[in-house]
């Protein structure tokens, strides 16, 4: 018996000792609490966020006295009224919302063929290339990428130089609304592809072959088979792109050149330029509300898609 025991490797005995220590400080009868213990860090983080949100809610109800730069002690709805009545904020809100909707639609249209090819191609080389091309921009970061577009699309940029070679006069390609939309679509594409790909992987290729043998050409196969089955992926990707675009800061700031601000830029201005934290907080809360309503609307209309965690499939 003794000889057999010494034959166990050292790592096994260390593990035994560690398990013994663990059993002493966390006895078996506590074991049912273990999953909750593991949940604790996430709960703490979200809890802090909620605390911050409460503080923002508190700030949003206090008005700034511009002569003393002090916040009022009393609560008032002045910020709320200002946010709704001042034309600037309405323009910004409308601009953000319209941009988010356009960007979502365009991104989904562009992302689908990319994801489809990536999932369905038989060539592992092409799949790797598509994946790398997708992730590479992630490593660069949003701000650097937006500056990159400034260089490429600027008055002396590559695009205008190329156009000059064929005799086209330089055009203003940046600091306008299409430039912001373009930058956002380019930024959102990887998110949408990554959300769509698993949904497409879940559609057996045999279903498309079956649709073909039953008389459907590729357009009808797409409409009647692929699209309905990919719906969870479209909803997931749509919600992610919609919320990320709606709340984006860097792309409108850099590619819009200050003249095509989104809600996040307006909030930034209130906090750090005019120092009216009350109004900034109110705008932030309204952005949260707008996003929540939009996502709720999508879920109510189309279901929760992949975000339902597979419980309400099809």
């Amino acid at each position: 018996m003794r000889a057999a025991r010494t034959a166990y490797p050292l790592t096994w005995r260390i593990m035994d000792a560690l398990e013994g220590v663990a059993a002493a400080i966390w006895p078996a009868r506590f074991r049912r609490a273990t999953p909750y213990l593991m949940l604790l860090p996430a709960v703490l983080l979200v809890g802090l966020l909620v605390l911050g949100l409460i503080q923002i809610a508190d700030a949003s109800l206090r008005t700034l006295d511009t002569t003393t730069f002090q916040f009022s002690d009393d609560y008032s709805t002045a910020n709320f009224r200002r946010a709704l009545t001042e034309p600037l904020f309405l323009v910004v809100a409308q601009r953000s919302l319209v941009a988010a909707l356009i960007v979502t639609a365009v991104t989904l249209v562009f992302a689908f063929p990319y994801a489809y090819l990536m999932v369905r191609t038989r060539s592992p080389g092409l799949r790797k290339f598509l994946l790398i091309a997708l992730f590479l921009p992630f490593f660069i970061g949003q701000v650097v990428r937006a500056y990159g577009w400034l260089i490429i699309l600027g008055n002396q940029g590559m695009v205008n130089e190329a156009l000059g070679l064929v005799g086209v006069a330089p055009m203003r390609l940046i600091y306008n609304y299409p430039a912001v939309l373009f930058g956002l679509v380019q930024y959102m594409l990887p998110f949408a592809v990554l959300m769509l790909a698993p949904a497409l992987t879940a559609i057996p290729e045999e279903l498309e072959a079956a649709a073909g043998s039953l008389g459907a050409n590729w357009v009808r196969t797409f409409i009647h088979v692929v699209l309905p089955l990919a719906r969870p992926g479209f909803i997931g990707a749509g919600v992610v792109v919609l919320t990320l675009s709606l709340t984006d800061f860097a792309v409108p700031a850099i590619l819009g050149g200050g003249s095509h601000d989104f809600i996040a830029n307006a909030i930034y201005d209130q906090f750090f330029r005019t120092s009216d934290q009350g109004l900034g907080a109110m705008l932030a809360l309204m952005l949260v509300a707008l996003g929540s309503i939009l996502v709720g609307l999508v879920f109510a209309l189309f279901g929760a898609g992949t975000l339902a965690m597979g419980r309400s499939r099809v």
Partner: protein, 381 residues
């Protein structure tokens, strides 16, 4: 009153021999690997053909080329006399039942069956009636409203069959759809396929690795191995007159005794010598007959060998071997004996017990005699 199925006409064609499918010198290369080599056969209208072979034999590739999912590297496929290599699947009149059925999970059973009719732009008013008629044909009347995941495995099979047949295709293809079922259900569905095929008279090509299924359901069997067609024959001929050692070995349980050819007669009698043992048999493949001095194998089926405790009981048989029982395997309806025979270097011969009613039972280690008739031993090169 529902219109009758168009069975009668096709049944007449069964005897008439009008050709539905011609496969001519078809080959398929995958990156230099020949999955199918120079395959040719004709399939008359209304017949049920099974392509039988082990996995990797090229049988599924051949089926996918007929369906139009793959284009032959060489040769041509004709359906109703027309070359179809340039015709995409959705323009061929082919119903296919897929290995994993490929039913649409977001549709009900009835919507699945209606799908090919809608895609082919059939008169919308006739669709519900026709769908219900085909669901009744596969004995699923009243199940049309069910979602696919609410149906059992067997019911899903039936929906897939109805969907493949509802648009009255010229050809029905079955890509091993029964492979995943348990044995009882599989045997039930085999008979169901045969019943429906006979009722509608639709020309059918079935692919399987299950020799029993091939024998039970088919009018003809094409045996494939390593991309090549080994034999095309009716099931009973495939079993009783295999054309080569592969077919003899793949279907049924066959013993091979290797030796050297000593004599070949005009009438097709062959004798082979193994050590001191002379074995009489028949030429297995008349196209490629063995000649004197060739290495050859005598093939004898396990059920064609008699087993007895003393030699006198086997005196009416042409050949006899003495051996020792090395194993007994009880398979329910029969007993399988493995017998090592000294005359052929203690090679093991497998024998099915023919007479379970006699309740004779040999034990491991017992000395026994094996006997068979010369006409049952086929000699292959």
């Amino acid at each position: 009153m529902q219109e009758p199925f168009r069975a009668a006409a096709s049944h007449e064609a069964k005897g008439g021999g009008e050709i539905a499918v011609t496969v001519r010198n078809v080959g398929m290369d995958f990156d230099g690997v020949q999955a199918v080599k120079n395959a040719s056969f004709d399939l008359p209208k209304g017949r049920f053909l099974t392509i039988l072979g082990p996995s990797g034999s090229g049988k599924t590739t051949l089926l996918r080329m007929i369906a139009g999912f793959q284009t032959p590297s060489s040769g041509e496929i004709f359906i109703n006399g027309e070359a179809v290599s340039a015709v995409p699947p959705h323009k061929r009149s082919i119903g296919m039942v897929f290995q994993r059925l490929a039913l649409f999970p977001h549709m009900t059973a009835a919507e699945n069956v209606a799908f090919p009719l809608k895609m082919r732009r059939r008169d919308a008013r006739t669709i519900p009636d026709r769908v219900e008629r085909y669901l009744a044909l596969v004995r699923l009347g009243g199940y049309g409203g069910r979602r696919i995941h609410e149906l059992s495995g067997g019911q899903q099979q039936r929906v897939a069959i109805a969907r493949a047949l509802v648009f009255e295709p010229d050809l029905l293809l079955l890509d091993e759809p029964l492979a995943a079922l348990d044995r009882k259900l599989r045997e039930e569905m085999q008979l169901e396929f045969r019943r429906i095929q006979r009722e509608l008279g639709v020309t059918t090509i079935n692919v399987t690795h299950d020799q029993r299924e091939a024998l039970v359901v088919s009018d003809d069997i094409v045996v494939m191995d390593q991309g090549e067609i080994q034999q095309k024959a009716r099931p009973i001929h495939t079993y009783r007159q295999p054309r080569n050692a592969f077919v003899a070995n793949f279907i049924g349980v066959t013993n091979f005794i290797a030796g050297t050819v000593r004599a070949v007669s005009e009438a097709g009698d062959v004798s082979i010598l193994r050590g001191d043992l002379m074995l009489a048999g028949k030429i297995g493949d008349p196209v490629n007959p063995p000649a004197e001095g060739d290495k050859a194998s005598g093939a004898i089926r396990a059920e064609q060998i008699r087993l007895a405790g003393d030699a006198a009981q086997l005196s009416k048989l042409d050949c006899m071997l003495a051996g020792t029982v090395t194993d007994t395997i009880f398979e329910g309806e029969r007993m399988v004996y493995e017998v090592a025979c000294a005359a052929i270097g203690d090679e093991v011969i497998r024998v099915f017990d023919h007479d379970p009613a006699a309740h004779t039972q040999f034990d491991i280690g017992e000395s026994v005699f094996l006997g068979w008739n010369a006409r049952d031993m086929l000699v292959f090169r």
